[in-house]
Structure formats: structure tokens, C-alpha cells
Amino acid sequence: MYCAHDIGFSAGGRHLLEAASVAVRPGTVTVLIGPNGAGKSTLFKLMAGERRPQRGQVTLDGIDLAGLRPAQLARLRAVLPQSVHVAFPFTVAEVVGIGAARGRDLPARIGRALARVELGALASQNYELLSGGEKQRVQLARALVQLEASEGPGYLLLDEPTASLDLAQQLLVLRLMRDLAAEGAGILAVLHDLNLAAMVADEIVALKQGRVAVRGTPEQVLTQACIADLYGVDVRVGWAPPTPFLLPQAASRA
């Protein structure tokens, strides 16, 4: 289990997180939602180990992240950041291989990861010449190579993985997240699109002003009352079995 326990974090005199807790179980997809400034990015960075919480702790299978060296942590979890600019003209395949343990089978692992994000044909392209959506998927493939080599179940943290993708690619990434969970990995994703969250999440954790406002299955969290409380808008919530869906067209200020 990948857990944040009672996290407190402030910066610049603002309380960004207060007593926030999240638990990511192997084989499940947990999605963080919440309005802008709710503390999603901060919580994500603390879970990834980039920053240390001022109160509380983040643990991975019972071990405090503070006690792990970067190399040890990298063998337990992989991270997909939002957008990545690469400083030198690396090829797509080289970017995917960065950070992976080298070995005879690395080219094959890179090829498999690129095939999973449907970018196998671009392996020898210059990364910086790709579109935003393609770059995003290359980074996802890089995280997949790292995840595949992880010890134990493996955890994957994704920050807005669908942000710059078209509809077909959004669905591809959601399907990939479900597949990885089915293979046993624990997935934590920050998502802004609530309909995508409803489709992919086993559990949704909604943050508001640095606190966990509500958590539960998509049906429990994505209700008219909860959305009104979180975002201050009144939306109609429909039902597209097996998940709820939101119609922004019918929204009004709550």
C-alpha cells in the first residue's frame, strides 16, 4: 500500500494541505480530484517524494519515504509528470530508456512500452519534434519501462495524464491504467475531467482547500451535492451504467 498519513504542508504562509490522507492499494486506480488550488499538485509531489511533508508521513508498503534513497524509491514507484521538455535532441527510444537499468533486453522493453502507447513507429524520431500529446505518451512509455522493472507490485503516479490528449488517446490512456491495475499495479492519478475520473477510478479522493472533502466510489463522490460543494456549480448528474456522468451544459452557479 502507498499511503499518505495526515499530511500537513504549508508554503509562503498558506496551508496547502491539512490532515490529508490517501491510500493507494495494489490492483486499484485511485483518482485525485478537486478545484484549482485545492492541493492536488502538492499532495502529488509529496507522494512522489519530491518534497517532504511538514506533518505526517508518506509510506510505501510500510516504509517511510524519508528513509529511502532516490534509487530505492525508483524501484518501487514510477512517476508521469505533466509536461516534460528535454534539453538535448534525444530520440523517442532514448527518452523512454532514460533512467531504466541497462541490459541486453532494454531495446525490447522500450519497444513494448512504445507499442502500449501506440507510438512504436516514432522510436527513432527526435523527441522535441513531437506534438504535445505524443510527448505525453512518450513520457508515459518511459514510466512504463520503469514500472515494469519495479520490485513488488509497482506503483504509478500520473499527474494529469490526459491533459494534452485527444479523445481517442484519452481513452487509450484510461484503458492502459485499467490494464496496469489488472496486472497488479497501484495507480494514483490527478484528473481534472470528472467524467474520465468516473470511468477509470475505483476510488475518488476529492480535495478542497487542502483537506479531503469526500472520498469513495465514483457513484458516492460524483453527486450533485458533492460537486456543488467542491466546485460551486450546480450540474445535472446522469447515469451511464456502470458509472455516473456530468453534463456541464446543464450547469449553473450553485
Partner: protein
Amino acid sequence: MAVSPAAGALAFRPRRASVVLGLCAGLVALAFLASLAIGPVTIAPGRILDILAAALAGERASGAALREAVIVLDVRLPRTLLGLLVGGGIALAGAVTQGIFRNPLADPGLIGISNGAALAAAAWIVAGSHVAGYLPLALADLGLPVMAFCGALVATVALYAISTHEGRTSVVTMLFAGIAIAALAAAGTGLLVFAASDQQLRDFTFWSFGSLGGATWAKVAALLPFMALLVLISTRLPRALDALALGEAEAFHVGIDVQRAKWLAILGIAAGAGASVAVAGVIGFIGLVVPHLIRLMVGPGHRLLLPCAGLLGGALLLGADVVARTVVSPAELPLGVVTAGFGAPFFLWLLLRKRAALMG
């Protein structure tokens, strides 16, 4: 660069890689022989190999062979080794600087690091002469490279601290800070020159021309530990520098201890830039142009870039030194004049090419 033509070269362009590494090593061998062979007395490569083999076997030359042996072993060999070390060190330090600053334009000679080393070296020449008299001779030889190393270290740390905020290095800040550090160091050097005595001024002027002319085995020995440090560090860095190309947070995600990598790199840069400045003054463009050339040939992966850059840098500086001491023979051109003469136009060509690519 659009699509890489090599279809089978999926991950690491493996075949071209070994070819380029072999090519660089071949160039080093060629430059090494040329540097030993060419001069007021031309010595055939076959003779040079005989002399080197004899020296390695511990045989002493005599008679007519003695003159050639002395020229090769006592005059040209230390100069050649010094050139290899300085050129390789500058190019390697340049490649590491570009990797850690995530910028292909970062070069110790451009962003004030070499000037910091030069200021400290000047301080040693002016003030150190009072101290050096009390030191054993071996330590006196080390004084200049040690001081230059310290100067480069201070400049690099200052530059990094100024241009990096919350893990992001700003290119504009880095270049401006580099210009300011270079100007400040130049002002300090000017002040020292102003305060120097005539003898110190002569020493200083001679040194600042940047020449391998005064090469001795003692200088080679004084330079060796710094270059060994740089090479040792550069073997630990390729994976970290590759990952840092993605950004500092991303490098941490894939398991790099970013702070450790940064400090190692800074130490290596200071050793390479500082020691080479101590011997040969500020030599521009090798550190900028050589890594760029290698990136064009084998791509930006540091596992190959670093060794290839070191080899090609050594070969090119030796070539430049051969040019410097033959075109106006028996006088010598300053080495910096030759490297800038070739390097600056090449750099401008690169900029124009990049501008064309950026503007479509």
C-alpha cells in the same frame, strides 16, 4: 535533425557509436604522432615509435640517436601529453557543464568559470611568488593549478546558485550571471596586473597568452591528478546527466540523487577548467564546439558523449598546437588565437543553422 536514418538503431545507435569512438581514438593517435613528429626537426613516425619503445624498455639512446631521443622524450612528449590533457579536460568539462546546466551553450570559457580560474591563477602569480619561495619545488608547481581549481570552483558554485531557483536553471540568468562573473573576474585580474611588479607582469603576460610552450614533465605531473579526478567523476555521471535532460524532478523520479550528481559535476568542471587554465590560459570554444560535434554524430547520450568529447578535445587541441607552433615558425602563435580562429566561425555557423531551424 528530423528522422534518424538508421532503421535498426532503436535505442542507442550502437553500430555508429563504436565507429565514432574508434574514430576519435584514431584521431588522438594521429594527433599524438603528428605532434611528436612535426617541428623544427622532422622525425619520421617509425623513428618516434622506436624511441618510445626503447624508452619504455628502459634503454638509453646514445650517439646520433640521442639528439632525436631528447627532442621526442624531453621536449615534444611532455608538450604533447599536456596538450592531450588540457584539450581533453576542456572538452570533457564543457560537456559536463552543458549537461548539468541542461544547455548546449554552457561552456566554462563563456560563462565565467575559466575567468574565475584565471583570476585565482593571476593571484597566485602575483601574490604567490612571495609564498612559493618557502615551498618545496614540487608544491610550488602545484600552486597554480590548485589556485585555478579553487577559482573555477567558486565561480561554478556562484553561477549555479544564482541561476538555479527551486530546481530550475534559467538560461537567461545563467548567461547574464556568467557575463557578470567573467567581467568581475577580469576586473580583479586587471587590478592584480596593475599592482604587479615588472617580473610578475612578464610571468603573467606569458601565461595569459595560453600556450603549451613551457611544457615540462613536472607540469604534466601537476595536471594529472586534476584530470584524473575529472575522468573519474565523468564515469559516474552519464546516467544522471541523461536523466537531468528531462528536468531535476524527473531525474529524481527515475532514481537519480540530483544533489550528489550536481556537486560531483561541479567538482569535475572546476578540476578540468581550472587545471587547464592554470597550464594554458583561457582557451575558448573547444569546450563548446567539441561536445556539439559529438552530439551531431552519436546523439546526446552522455555514456558516449563524454568519452568521445574527451578524446576529440585532446586531438583537436594537439592539432591546434601543431598549427600554432608551425605557421609562423620559429615564433609561436598563442594557442587561444588558433582555437578561437577555428572555433568562433564554427560556433557562428551553428547559431545560423539553429536560427534557420527555429524560424522554419
